[in-house]
Symmetry: C2
Subunit: 887 residues, 2 copies
């Protein structure tokens, strides 16, 4: 028995997305709900994979099953596919598991040919018949026979010119008939084959074309960019046609049950009278607001409202629907969970909890981490906005602030972004699937035409890119590579700024500022629910009081990493160099105590005050000292130049001496060299000064009533004896300071676990350290034997690129390598807690803000993750997701 490759809509349901694709499952579910869905059937994703895997041959039984299914549809529609006298017309649409807007191909009106077009013309209306036929030839030829779409547009323009009209609906039946003739000639010329007159041949070729489109370049690029697996395949939906282009009581629309941009609970959509669905999406004609139907087609509107309510209640999710009204009657062509902006996602989730549709937990699970990220993206600074020249205002199609150089085609935009690393704004009359690679590469998108559901708007929202659509005021000259608005001409390469939330376009680069977290009321509600659910605490990495303040405002419950080396940079570097160059220990310690101690103390004091009541982990100096010295190569050039000039004076001598010192300090592999606690052990004065600064600051703050919880972190431990050596020396300093200040503060001493050996011997290390913090950047470098400074440039990006070497599933510096580094983390937590059951364990590498890595940290039983302040909200959400997923 052959496999079941074909499902009638009534045979499927919403749970069969893997097999039927998103569109097919939605059509099946709606059919099951008794909603007005034109009958049809779905060829499964398995059929697609079988076809692609078998040298592009239909799997056995597929065609027979299509014939049988078509017979059922014929009966329901009381028509007959391929019968010239009573023809059934069908659409053929792709539908993968995950929505890939515009990526896959669609053909409408399939079944028409030179004979049946006359039947339709006679039965219905000649204009409609010939319009439908020319659409078929146009779409079919483009999709199946790969004829350049612009050539068809040129013919249409010619005919419109001949007839003296501008809009498609104004073209006469004769005009469309003429178009068909010209189209057919064009197809013959361009592809070498005739447009097939046999409807079954049309169907067969169309289904094959959809299957093949899964491996088209556009589809692969899109999946690479969005992380969708290449192994899913697409389903093909064959559905009997209903016609929005059959007169003025007909039309096609796209609508959302709620506003996908703001999340308001307000029906939202667009409608084109006397048009097929593709006209809405293409953006070629600007549609009307969907509420117009309330007046223009009240019955259909009422039906639409009912369907909308039914679907949202049924799916408990905002729906994105496509519908057609044929002679006043509503037909549903698609429903799916609607794409939305991050703001809308958050508002809808919160509202639906209030409406009793979903639980708080559902709401938390519905928000994805990248949406939080988008909400916290920078915005334009108000002052900067006021000072700038506003070029125009279009539709606020996708929110966010983008600054970049203008490019007018996707290829150039991609090239400038990828090869030259430029920030790019893609500006197009309108976008279509061929532009997606440029949109992916761009910081933002600006279109002259198209509405809120146009291709540009939908894709930009999905990609989280700022987009201003339908900015009709701008005039684009693609040949000259310029755009003009209000008399100002913007050339290719000029910089503009887009405010996607306001729909505004500015000349030049506006300054951006961090968003005001307090204004994100719904987000704060969601994160509050996340906080109730999660087991992991979320701490932040902050090196100064300002960062600490921001971290706390974002919900950080502690500082997991305060890097003291940043306190030696900038204007302080010179002082630190003075210490490093000191010729005696006395001089070294004098500079430390007199100059650096007060500076550090002040920093720490500020941080303790901001983090009143919360723990603050301060890491002792970590990087090798030569990082604070002048560049060896520059000194070498300088000294060589001086020598070439024959200089021998004091300046030359000083430079030469400095060069010798820097050369002596340089290391072949500094990452594995004299740094971290190795510095502390070989030059104990440095760490002692730091601990003194920490405890002086802590005591000072404590005296003012601040509840301080300093935790001193010793970096780069590889052997427990290092801790046994240095920790007591430092604890002694801490005790001494507290005695001097006459006040005691709660404190801990602990260590980074960032060397594989430390993880392997965590039981020994925990006998001394009171806390562990995984430094997963270094731990990854050493466990993987990969230097991050070099490897990404040299080979790692190629390793992790699915379309290149495809050796690593992920870049291990972005997402924790569970098999390798993760194994060490699990081992270290277990061993450490065996010796010290109350061991505090966290992570302070960059992985601390990565949701997938946070999931691992949850499973490993960490107490907290620590990440950059901006990632704190994401981490709060991700920690809740982890708690729910791993129950």
């Amino acid at each position: 028995m052959t496999k079941k490759w074909v499902y009638l809509f009534e045979e499927g349901n919403a749970k069969m997305r893997d097999l039927l694709g998103g569109k097919g499952a939605g059509l099946a579910e709606m059919t099951g709900l008794g909603l007005p869905v034109p009958p049809g059937f779905t060829c499964t994703t398995e059929a697609c994979l079988e076809y692609l895997g078998n040298n592009n041959k239909f799997p056995e039984g597929l065609w027979d099953q299509i014939l049988v299914a078509m017979e059922t549809v014929n009966k329901k529609m009381d028509r007959k596919f391929a019968d010239p006298k009573n023809p059934l017309l069908v659409s053929v649409r792709s539908g993968a598991k995950f929505s890939m807007p515009g990526m896959m191909d669609t053909i409408l009106n399939l079944g028409l040919n030179d004979e049946s077009v006359n039947t339709i013309a006679a039965q219905a209306d000649p204009r409609f018949a010939w319009d439908s036929y020319r659409r078929l030839v146009q779409m079919f030829s483009k999709v199946v026979l790969d004829v350049d779409g612009h050539l068809f547009e040129e013919i249409i323009q010619e005919i419109k010119a001949e007839e003296g009209v501008t809009a498609d609906p104004q073209v006469s039946p004769k005009g469309w008939q003429k178009a068909v003739e010209k189209f057919k000639a064009l197809v013959k010329r361009e592809s070498g084959v005739e447009f097939p007159q046999d409807p079954w041949k049309q169907l067969e070729l169309a289904v094959e074309a959809v299957f093949r489109s899964w491996n088209g370049k556009r589809a692969i690029d899109y999946r690479n960019a969005t992380g969708i697996s290449h192994k899913l395949g697409t389903a093909v939906n064959v559905q009997s046609m209903v016609f929005g282009n059959i007169g003025n009581d007909s039309g096609s629309g796209v609508a959302f049950t709620r506003n996908p941009s703001t999340g308001e609970n307000d029906f939202f959509g667009e409608y084109l009278f006397n048009a097929q669905g593709e006209d809405v999406v293409s953006g070629a004609r600007t549609p009307t607001e969907v509420h117009k139907l309330q007046v223009e087609a009240p019955q259909a509107w009422e039906a639409l409202m009912k369907v909308s309510k039914t679907l949202e209640t049924h799916y408990k999710e905002m729906q994105d629907m496509e519908f057609t009204i044929q002679n006043g009657k509503l037909y549903m062509l698609q429903t799916r969970n609607g794409k939305r902006t991050a703001a809308a996602a958050v508002k809808i989730a919160v509202d639906m909890v209030a409406e009793g549709l979903i639980t708080k937990e559902d709401a938390v699970m519905r928000i994805e981490h990248f949406q939080v990220d988008q909400l916290l993206h920078p915005r334009f600074d108000d002052a900067s906005r006021k000072a700038a020249v506003k070029l125009t205002k279009g539709l606020n199609a996708s929110p966010g602030a983008a600054v970049g150089e203008v490019y007018f085609d996707a290829d150039t935009a991609e090239k400038k972004a990828k090869e030259e690393g430029k920030a790019v704004i893609l500006v197009r009359p309108e976008t279509n699937p061929d532009d997606v690679h440029g949109m992916l590469a761009a910081k933002g998108v600006l279109t002259q035409h198209g509405g809120a559901t146009s291709h540009a708007a939908v894709v930009a929202r999905q990609l989280g890119k700022p987009c201003v659509a339908g900015a009709e005021e701008i005039k684009i000259d693609l040949r000259a590579r310029t755009m003009t608005v209000k008399g100002i001409t913007i050339k290719e390469g000029d910089v503009i700024s887009l405010d996607g939330a306001a729909g505004e376009v500015y000349q030049g680069a506006l300054k951006t500022v961090a968003p005001d977290f307090d204004e994100q009321k719904e987000l704060k509600i969601i994160l509050g629910w996340a906080d109730e659910i999660r087991k992991l605490m979320v701490w932040a990495n902050a090196d100064d009081p300002k960062q600490a303040k921001r971290a706390r405002s974002y919900g950080a419950q502690g500082i997991g990493l305060c890097r003291t080396e940043h306190m030696f940079l900038g204007e302080r570097t010179e002082k630190f160099q003075e210490a490093i160059l000191a010729e005696t220990d006395e001089e070294f310690n004098r500079v430390l105590d007199e100059v650096l101690l007060p500076l550090q103390r002040e920093d720490f004091y500020g941080i303790f005050k901001e983090m009143d009541g919360l723990p603050v982990i301060i890491r002792l100096l970590d990087p090798p000292l030569h990082e604070f010295m002048p560049s060896k190569d520059e000194l070498l050039v300088e000294v060589t130049r001086m020598e070439a000039k024959g200089e021998t004076g004091a300046e030359y001598q000083a430079k030469k001496k400095l060069l010798a010192i820097v050369q002596d300090m340089s290391e072949f592999n500094p990452m594995l060299g004299l740094r971290g606690c190795r510095l502390g052990i070989t030059m104990p004065g440095l760490n002692k000064m730091q601990v003194r600064a920490i405890f002086e600051a802590a005591c000072d703050a404590a005296k003012e009533g601040v509840k301080v919880k300093p935790e001193v972190m010793i970096p780069l431990t590889s052997h427990v004896n290092e801790l046994k050596h240095i920790q007591p020396l430092l604890e002694e300093v801490a005790e001494k300071v507290m005695q001097e200040k006459g006040i005691r503060v709660e404190y801990k001493f602990g260590t980074m676990i960032e060397i594989p050996r430390a993880a392997l011997t965590a039981d020994q290390i925990a006998s001394v350290a009171q806390f562990f913090s995984f430094g997963t950047n270094d731990l990854t470098q050493m466990t993987y034997g990969i230097s991050r400074d070099d490897a990404e440039r040299k080979f790692l990006l190629r390793y992790a690129d699915e379309s290149d070497l495809n050796i690593l599933p992920k870049n291990p510096f972005q997402t924790l390598d569970e098999e390798g580094v993760g194994q060490l983390i699990f081992m270290a937590v277990e061993k450490g807690r065996m010796v010290r059951p109350d061991l505090e364990v966290g992570i302070c590498g960059e992985h601390g803000g990565d949701p997938e890595s946070i999931d691992l940290c949850h499973r490993a039983g960490l107490n907290y993750v620590s990440c950059s302040p901006f990632r704190v909200p994401i981490a709060r959400l991700a920690a809740a997701h982890a708690a729910i997923k791993n129950r």
Copy 2:
């Protein structure tokens, strides 16, 4: 009840070395065997530790137990300690668990004072009485009161001059009496206290002095140098005196049951008539050969022969004995396992197996790895020897060849060796414990005076340093810092060569050559027995046919690491640079195929022939390519200079371009960068060429009837996908070559396990790799986070130095870190074999030749260790030791 701090000799035995020290246990054992041992007792090492740990106070009960024990001795000797009328005299000697020759202090004739000396003079002989007394004052004052020993020697010289004699025994009773008076005055002047007349006070102070000497600088230095623990403490032996200085039928001797230099089964030793034991050891008087006793004192000789036989049969080990003959009667003062040269150790072990005294396994266990090392130390080249000026011939006190600069005092010798890294020969009239630090630092030792059992000879043998002793022909002028022989004057800093085995001294530096392994018959027997015992195979690291040949001659059972990068060095570097600089892939591959392929093939062919029948693991190119390029810094200087001169020509342009390339290739942490299989994966042409060379060579050799077993090793794997990517490409090349050549060879593909992640995911890796080879150099670097290129210089040596930071028990690059790196090794073996039960696992890092690391490899279940050819014999022995120890 207080602890037992004191044991009479009859209360102890040989097993109580920890408590009684080596000497004390030996005296007890001999007492138990009924041998003629003067009665006495031992204060335990525990008493010493208690004393030192308690602010240098005797532990409670010690003194009382000494009093009780002395009473027993009094009775046995029919004398009474501290009784002026019938005084018992005793010796006080140190005796730690491990022999530390000359390190600890000895006092003889204790119990004498101004009163009892007259009793002895009356009872025995005035010369003897006063000689004994002056010895007591001299030794006591030096050891207990810290008076400079030379001052006593000066007084003796004066008296000898006055009396017109040259040798000690010729000094008259009056002379010695005068010496005592002068000594006492000297002591008062130098130390501020009187020489104590109370024998009990003498005893108390003497015991304390021995205890304290455990922590003397000499003792600590010696223990640091030889790896003896500082926690053992020393015992104190108090023994009733017998006198070798009581007349010409008396004397003292030192003897070995077999020859400690050659191992011949021939009684060996030296004897001084009318002398105490210290006179023999000090080397101040040249003793006679012990066989003279056969004629001069036949009864004592017969007794000595009997004792010797008894002891060797009892201990089943060559014994080193001290004895005294008092008026013709033999007394035994010490027995212990005799120190011996490596050659003697091997011969004795083999002989004792033949004699049925010990088993083969005992014999194997008796040879220590450093002895094998010594036997394989370089020797002087015969031609070089003939061409050189032979300065003199002395005693062949300790074998081996040493070349170095002459220094005449231990401090300078140590300084030149340690601070300036010079090879040094220490030349002294004779040595004493104060010279040991100089002997440790020197390559060899030359003395003017002293015999085969003199301090210099004994210590040099123990340290394995070449030594020529008693080269009386040379005249040393310590003030002028020269030595003169045969009219030639050698100044400080001049180079000489010592042949310790021949006892010869040459002017200038002789060339050394590797020893002829085939001549080491006994060693080969021992290693043959080791081969029967061991479970680990021993392979060798060899990069060319010559090394492979040597490895095989030393017993290697395969090549565990053939590094191909060495094949790109030397004159071939230029060719390889040409490939690296190729601008197109075609050019790159052309250079590889036309130039490098034939070179590599030739190397491999030679190795396969040498290793006929044995496996050869060839590692594909490992180091980063920039290692084959000119130095970046040098280019930078060159280009800067050219710029300073205003050069713009072609040469400048070429240099500048090269600099840019080298700068682009350089990495921050090259060890973790683009190398190993990362190179192979990103530039597959390189590895393909290498595999082609390997298989062309293998097939060519196989056609000639050579049994080739090539194993291709892919370096630096971190993720199984790397192997999945590259291995099939390379296997394809191998198959293709075999097809071309029309012959098949047995082969394997496998990988280095040198990155922690590879060990952690060894199960996955073993699904592709057919063998593992632990690259423990890199594995240690990454597991420990330590760059070997930098760290030893920067901090690691201080970390591993017990007298400095003392953080690491060992340098992990010398001995495998069992807790960290070892954990990964155990894990990887287990995981790998779980997936591939017949997985071949070995080690090819430098640890492969380290005995302690070999023990770990045995326990981890490795198939083989691979080390440098010269270490193969050591590894064979160490593998047998591991097999025995871990049964």
